[in-house]
């Protein structure tokens, strides 16, 4: 029941915030958002799952009741968490709360709607990460788009309408393709399943129940479904070359929304890839190892190169997300305990660090009203605390040891080198590692230009240290990054527990 309570409380918080007067909305949303934080921490403390929820492991806090009986396949309200989803739930609640605090300064109109939508989005995100029935999961998955569309479209920058509609169209088409891919799998399974529960489907696939459908043999159907789902999720991740909605959305979105977008929404894509493609169709995934590894390395390098070419701080961070997500894909396709586990860990680590980076850029923007590298220099002089945390976060991004980013990337590289999916894997890994050099290059370059050197600023604004409530979320994120970097085991143990069953899967086709 605690999952239902968690989601319901968050929805309720959204409703309450929606009717609170604008003046108090930010504070109210912050106070209310602490409830899901505490709830998720309580869940973490009570967490007793073992194994992978889809592969016969026992999920924690599981509820399974029939929701709709419709023809052959029942729809269940099935929710539960395992080692893959638990860290993401904690990430979601904490990051939402911090994003809400970081929105106090930049959001100056229609606050109650803004904060209400943030909480509404959080509720749906929690649903995405806990749902274990395809239908329930899909409802939440789609429902995340609606608040995001408004958050970008209403409170965004000058080209917000374009960015919002681009985001909406890209991800919606992707969802449609993914939906078709998955449903064709369901039809291929025919009578061997009686509901759309993901564990049931995953186990039926594992047992080799997949038959042909629409003139395709079982193997061909698996490939087609894999490609359709991969495409659908790759847009969300995003994997190059499907990433073009991301910079637009990030640049136009207000800072707190960027934090959510980079911190949690991108992880929906990688989480779904892991849950669907790599867990349900492992053999097909292995057979596509070469193109997937190519895409992963292309995302890493191309994203980093694009970041290198930007003058807008926010664009730099946005493109570097493409690069970081490439590592996740590389880790997933490695199919080793450190690869897949590291990829899952990277989802959390990147959520924290990219959130930190976007917030830091936002805090600087709040004061300077510009994000252009060329418009300022020596800001560290006037905003030492912000600049300090920004630099620390950037080093985390570059993979400084004892920070979460280092642990994640180390796991991924270790896993990818050990990988046996194909012989050339070390080559790809080596190429991907080169991405780190570029990351270091553009981040150091950007910081050197903006933060250090003699103070110069052309605008009319007084540059002073940001208020406490702007800096506090940054400090919390930095702290969490370090904690997670020093002892990654607080998440990595449960992640590995859930990931290992995936690696033991044999080929069914």
């Amino acid at each position: 029941m605690i999952i239902e309570a968690l989601i319901a409380v968050t929805f309720l918080a959204a409703l309450v915030t929606f009717v609170v007067p604008d003046r108090y909305a930010g504070k109210a949303a912050f106070a209310l958002s602490l409830v899901p934080v505490l709830g998720s921490l309580y869940m973490w403390q009570q967490y007793d799952a073992s194994g992978n929820a889809l592969l016969g492991g026992s999920a924690a806090f599981e509820t399974d009741i029939v929701w709709l009986q419709l023809g052959q396949y029942d729809l269940h309200w099935l929710v539960g968490v395992d080692g893959i989803s638990m860290p993401l739930i904690v990430l979601t609640t904490i990051l939402t709360t911090l994003a809400i605090v970081s929105a106090w300064t930049p959001i100056t109109e229609r606050q109650s709607q803004f904060f209400g939508l943030m909480l509404f989005m959080e509720a749906n995100l929690l649903g995405v990460f806990t749902a274990l029935d395809f239908f329930v999961w899909f409802v939440f998955w789609e429902a995340v788009l609606v608040p995001m569309y408004f958050l970008i479209g209403v409170w965004g920058g000058p080209r917000r309408k374009y960015a919002a509609i681009k985001f909406f169209v890209y991800t919606n088409i992707a969802s449609l393709v993914m939906f078709i891919g998955f449903i064709s799998l369901v039809f291929g399974l025919g009578d061997s399943i009686s509901s759309l529960r993901l564990p049931e489907i995953a186990q039926a696939l594992q047992a080799g129940q997949l038959g042909g459908f629409a003139g395709l043999s079982a193997g061909a159907l698996a490939s087609v479904a894999f490609i359709a789902m991969f495409f659908g999720f790759a847009v969300k991740v995003p994997v190059a070359p499907l990433h073009t909605w991301l910079p637009d959305a990030h640049v136009e979105a207000p800072t707190p929304v960027s934090v959510m977008l980079a911190g949690v929404l991108l992880k929906m894509g990688t989480y779904a890839l892991l849950r669907f493609n790599f867990t349900m169709l492992p053999e097909t995934a292995r057979s596509f190892a070469l193109p997937i590894a190519l895409l992963a390395v292309a995302s890493v390098i191309y994203g980093a190169l694009l970041a290198l070419a930007q003058q807008d701080l926010k664009r730099i961070v946005a493109y570097s997300s493409v690069s970081s997500m490439g590592y996740v894909i590389l880790g997933l396709i490695a199919y080793t305990t450190y690869g897949v586990g590291g990829a899952t860990f990277q989802m959390v680590a990147h959520g924290l660090i990219s959130g930190l980076m976007f917030m830091a850029v936002g805090v600087i923007y709040n004061t300077t009203h510009t994000r252009m590298v060329t418009d300022m220099s020596g800001v560290a002089d006037r905003m030492p605390v912000t600049a300090g945390i920004f630099v620390a976060g950037a080093f985390g991004y570059m993979g400084l040891p004892l920070m979460a980013g280092f642990a994640a990337e180390f796991f991924i590289f270790k896993g990818a080198f050990e990988s046996t999916v194909m012989e050339a894997m070390p080559l790809f890994t080596g190429a991907a590692m080169f991405g780190i050099v570029i990351v270091a290059g553009y981040l150091l370059f950007a910081m050197q230009r903006t933060l250090f050197g003699p103070f110069e600023f052309d605008g009319d604004y007084e540059i002073t240290e940001a208020p406490f409530h702007d800096v506090a979320p940054l400090a919390v994120l930095l702290l969490l990054t370090i904690v997670l970097g020093v002892s990654p085991d607080i998440f990595f143990t449960m992640i590995q527990d859930a990931v290992n069953p995936i690696l033991e899967l044999g080929g069914a086709f």
Partner: protein, 506 residues
């Protein structure tokens, strides 16, 4: 049996009787105090009457009145009327829409004359619709169809100083009269061939109609035309945009939700009971395959409705065309019926009925929002809607729910009802019909989201002023929105009831 075992059998028609009595009561109030300005009394009476009828229908449904569990359908007045699960289910749709419309009209009519007439006409039309759902004979079908239609003509033209309203009323009346004539002619042809007007007897009389299959076919076609008029389907749809746009918005809501559902109620019953596909498609050379006819009509109707809606500049007119599109979805219920469908037939028909129920909430709500906007005097085009959300966030949220639900986006009732409908169509083997429906559904997101975008994202015009906060309209709109949302988690009882009662028809 009725829930009260000792009650006389006519009490099974209680929902219709309550509606008719309320209509008469409203007329009585009007007679006692002809120029009454006590709008509250009238609106309350009409609402309570609708709710009472709906409550009784819901009670009957739960008690199993007229269903197999209590001894099967109850037939009244020499088989002229029948009370079964389907008639009760549709009664529930009509009465809930009538209640929302009555509540909303409290504000909408505040400055109008002839309020007593308005409410009694609404209730009379609702009575006619309830009787339509109960009709078991082509004669009662025709009479109740007229009882539903004649008040509607007057209601559309209710704003008699408004040229648009009067013009719409006239157009609606002329096309309605024409289609009534066609419908009556169709009935006479069927009577000539089968020798009966009672639906089951018509089915029995079909077996001897081999030689007259051409006449019968013409009759069936004409009857289908009459239904197409009532449900605003192609090819008798062209009155709908005019009538819905010109009519007072609560009446547009009433017509496009309840009146449309009534057309479907009677079409479902007549075609499945009087012209069972198994019998009629094996008659003479070629037979009469009405499911193919409805399949074509469904595809054309939904596509035409959606494409026309996408090109509109006027929000009310866009909703009118979207309503045509939804008639196309609901037609899938008839189109996907097959000769040897078995349980799948009841499933797809039931899914269509469930969709009509959800549609009753989301579409009524959308039109009532338009009523609110008309009350504010903002304007009619998408541009006029710019920035409404900044002035009236609650109403705009409700409208957003309606738009996304109509488009079939989660997490709203329209998503799951469309899913059930398309899924049932696939189960019946009509995957191409489901595919066309799904594509149309995806297209519809374009024009529905334009309303949302205008309300929330566009900057409001400088002159945008929202005067009053009409309580009744707000209440009705919020009620419809809550209903639309709750129908997602609560869809199971709806679909289960609908499919059970639909299965009883076969």
């Amino acid at each position: 049996m009725t829930p009260l075992q000792t009650a006389p059998v006519w009490t099974a028609a209680a929902p219709a009787i309550i509606l008719a009595a309320t209509a008469l009561l409203l007329l009585t109030i009007d007679t006692i105090d002809p120029d009454t300005t006590n709008n509250g009394l009238l609106a309350t009476t009409a609402t309570l009457g609708s709710l009472a009828a709906g409550g009784v229908a819901a009670w009957f449904l739960m008690a199993g009145t007229g269903m197999e569990s209590t001894g099967g359908a109850i037939s009244l007045y020499g088989d002229a009327l029948i009370v079964d699960g389907m008639s009760l289910f549709f009664t529930l749709i009509f009465t809930s829409v009538a209640a929302m419309v009555s509540v909303a009209s409290y504000d909408y009519l505040a400055d109008e004359q002839y309020q007593g007439e308005f409410y009694s006409l609404v209730l009379l039309a609702a009575t006619g619709m309830t009787l339509m759902a109960m009709s078991n004979s082509l004669a009662t079908v025709f009479v109740s169809l007229e009882l539903a239609s004649l008040p509607s003509y007057a209601l559309v033209a209710f704003l008699k100083k408004n040229r648009g309203s009067v013009e719409a009323g006239l157009k609606y009346f002329l096309i309605g009269a024409l289609s009534s004539a066609v419908f009556a002619f169709g009935i006479s042809l069927v009577y000539a061939v089968t020798g009966s007007l009672v639906l089951p007897d018509i089915a029995a009389g079909l077996s001897g109609a081999d030689e007259l299959v051409g006449v019968l076919g013409l009759g069936v076609l004409m009857i289908a035309g009459g239904f197409a008029f009532k449900t605003a389907s192609v090819p008798f749809h062209f009155w709908a945009p005019e009538a819905y746009e010109g009519a007072p918005a609560p009446i547009s809501a009433f017509l496009s939700s309840a009146s449309k559902a009534a057309g479907f109620a009677v079409a479902f019953r007549v075609f499945t009971v009087a012209f069972p596909l198994g019998t009629i498609s094996s008659l003479g050379p070629g037979g009469i395959d009405w499911s193919l006819l409805f399949a074509i009509l469904a595809v054309v109707t939904m596509t035409l409705g959606n494409f026309a809606a996408a090109t509109q500049q006027n929000v009310k007119r866009m909703l009118a065309y979207s309503s045509i599109g939804h008639a196309g979805y609901a037609l899938i219920g008839l189109a996907a019926i097959t000769v040897d469908g078995g349980a799948a037939n009841g499933n797809v028909l039931g899914a269509s009925m469930a969709h009509l129920l959800v549609y009753g909430f989301m579409n009524t709500g959308a039109f009532l929002f338009i009523a609110m906007v008309e009350k504010w005097g903002i304007g009619r085009t998408f541009e006029d809607y710019n920035g409404i959300a900044s002035k009236a966030p609650i109403a705009a949220t409700a409208m957003t729910v309606f738009m996304f639900s109509l488009a079939g986006l989660p997490p709203f009732g329209g998503f799951v009802s469309k899913y059930a409908l398309f899924y049932s169509a696939i189960e019946s083997g009509f995957w191409w019909l489901a595919a066309v429906g799904a594509m149309n559904s995806a297209l519809s997101l374009f024009y529905y989201s334009r309303v949302v975008k205008a309300m929330w994202i566009e900057e409001p015009a400088k002159s945008l002023e929202i005067g009053s906060q009409p309580v009744g309209l707000y209440g009705a709109v919020v009620f419809a929105a809550v209903g639309t949302v709750l129908l997602l988690p609560g869809f199971q009882p709806v679909i289960e009831t609908a499919q059970t009662v639909a299965a009883a028809l076969f």
